[in-house]
């Protein structure tokens, strides 16, 4: 097992490098560089900078170095010193801005993942056991719809519904009176009241996909001879189903972390923009529009890394659950 963990982590390194390169490319994509943007904003505010000063700054930031050197400076700053560069829109180091937001993104993603599991497990089992029943057809229909409705449209629709029929303010994570307040039961309750919309919005497509997968897997399992044997030996129907087939069919639940998590993080981004949640999404969009590229690049990098870690966790859990995987 230890060998597998080691190998798996080693395999992650090239992918990690790839992700950092993509993030760096995105930082470099807009025409001009950090300094031209800075100079433009200084010129806007009436300041003038003489040519020698500009040259000194260019050398200082290493803007005339070859791309590879610039990349190395950027990535080594992040790894060695936790320095993500400077956000000129906010006038602060990027590292001061991102952690809160990334934390919120992660929490909502995890909440959504728990929701996905909690909803798709019972429905998936029910669908597989009672195949072609009315409940199964409803679940299938829901599944297709869940996969077909884009997150942001669902978010807008729920916003409208809750505004029109429940008269509840949506958007944000707290009601105005609780923003920045100390933690109390009232605040937790308020948070939960706001959290359900993003969690449902983000979790729906993952839930739909997982129900389909669980249903297909469990259906295959249920027709295997050992199930017939178990039933023939007089086990109760509940035991027959829950004891073995469900346990085996659960593998996709664990491996789902690997592919549902990127979806969720992606989903949080756009949903958060629509619902105005304090996660990475709105800040990322703003940074991209104002070409605050170090901030944007850092977000993209961190989201990629978060996904990779999710995949790692899912692989390790899977190996823990199913010994066959470790040896392939």
């Amino acid at each position: 097992m230890l060998g597998y963990v080691f190998k798996r982590i080693l395999l992650m390194i090239p992918t990690m490098i790839g992700i950092s390169i993509i993030s760096f490319v995105i930082i470099q994509l807009p025409p001009g560089d950090y300094l031209t943007s800075l100079l433009a904003s200084m010129a806007d505010s009436g300041q003038t900078v003489d040519a020698t000063e500009i040259a000194r700054m260019r050398a200082n930031y290493g803007l005339d170095d070859p791309m590879v050197v610039q990349y190395w400076k950027w990535i080594s700053g992040i790894i060695l010193r936790g320095d993500f560069g400077y956000s000129f829109e906010w006038g602060r180091p990027v590292s001061e801005l991102i952690w809160d937001r990334m934390g919120a993104t992660l929490s909502i993603s995890v909440a959504a993942l728990l929701f996905v599991w909690a909803v798709s497990l019972p429905i998936g089992i029910y669908s597989a056991v009672k195949r072609h029943s009315i409940g199964d057809h409803i679940a299938t229909l829901f599944g297709f719809l869940g996969l077909a409705i884009p997150n942001f449209i669902l978010a807008l629709t729920l916003m409208y519904v809750s505004y029109k029929y429940f008269d509840q303010s949506v958007g944000g994570l707290y009601s105005p009176e609780y923003v920045g307040a100390d933690w109390s039961w009232g605040r937790v309750w308020d948070l939960l009241k706001h959290l359900w919309i993003p969690v449902i919005v983000i979790g729906t497509s993952g839930t739909a996909a997982l129900i389909r997968i669980l249903r297909a897997n469990l259906t295959d399992e249920l027709s295997k001879p050992y199930v017939v044997t178990a039933r023939a030996k007089g086990l109760s129907e509940y035991e027959v189903i829950m004891r073995y087939p469900v346990r085996i069919a659960l593998n996709p639940f664990v491996s789902a972390i690997g592919w549902v998590l990127p979806q969720l993080i992606s989903g949080v981004t756009i949903t958060a923009i629509v619902l105005n949640l304090p996660t990475a999404g709105p800040l990322l969009l703003r940074a991209l529009i104002s070409q605050d590229m170090y901030l944007a690049g850092s977000f993209i990098l961190l989201m990629g890394v978060l996904t990779l870690i999710g995949m790692l966790v899912s692989d390790l859990l899977l190996a823990l659950l199913d010994p066959r995987i470790r040896f392939t």
Binding site: G18, T140, A148, P262, M303
Partner: protein
Amino acid sequence: MSDTHPTPTFMILPSDGEETGPAVSPLRPGQNPDAIAISGQWTLIRRRFFSNKVAVFAGIVVLLFYAIGLFAEFLAPTSPTLAQPTFTYAPPQDISLFVTGEDGTRHWEPHVKGYAMTVDPASLRRSFAIDDANVIPIGLFVEGVPYKLWGLFEMNTHLLGPLDPTQPMNLLGTDSLGRDLLSRLIFGTRISMSIGLIGVISSLIIGVTLGALSGYFGGWTDIAIQRLIEVISAMPTIPLWLGLAAAVPIAWSPLQVYFMVTLIVSLLAWTGLAREVRGRFLALRSEDFVTAAILDGSGQMRVIFRHILPSLTSHILAVVTLAIPTMIVAETALSFLGIGLKSPVISWGVLLQDAQNIRTIATAPWLLIWPSGAVVLTVLAFNFLGDGMRDAADPYAT
């Protein structure tokens, strides 16, 4: 998911293993077994596909949407950019077919009801109500705003419109500038559906080429390409799309932006396709017909493109169909966020931009309902069609 599809009637052997009949199943009457036995791969694929009613219906819906996009100018009741300043946020009008005359008799006259406008004295906001007394007759093939169909033919006939072109007919309501939503939706169909098509073609080229190279050569080529695919699929798509789309220069013309957005959307979508192609290549590489082709002295390119690829066409078609909705949604999301297509280009995403805040949605819910309805319907149709094609792609599998 094999259990959700009806067993095709042409199958001779029991396929699901539940049946314990005689070793040779009795043939169904009325079918000529020889015709099936000797029919080619594509005939079998077609038969299996057409036996899946849901997929066929979804296919018809998809074709309809493309037809709408193709004949947008003719189908739209008016010009999508024509602003009616007096009818901002006007609600949808219903079509009625009969008019009740003063003497109480009903007679045939298709019409919509006009608007009665009231101005709120405090906020000066206009609100519209349907005015039952104001009958606006409508008809088929009426003359209206002139246009050039496909930029070639000067015409002014519209499929449906008010008989008097100066009268308002907004079957789906209007937006903040009083533009007719139905016309805009129809024109949006053209852009949104074509983005899916063009995007899928470019991702098809990248995906098939890289997937084929990867699966055929194996070794280092394979490892490198697989790493690349892994990196790209590890990135959360929306942040990456955002990053790429935000880099499109503002000064570009709408056409350039359109192609750039299509390219961005397809840049991330080819990975699934490449994986599928690679898997099939690995399986087919050691087949006899490939060995035969190599022994015949065919070059590598010829083996790949002439011998192996044609036998995966059906699979590729299925994967491609399933990839189109992802692209349509991607474009919609990007445009909705304001970094994809922009006005004056009209796509479903651009239309949804108008429905960004709860205030607008509360005033004019139709601005959210219809464009999102179009997106969801398209995605559903493509998914069902793609599922059906995937099931039919390998007619020899049981």
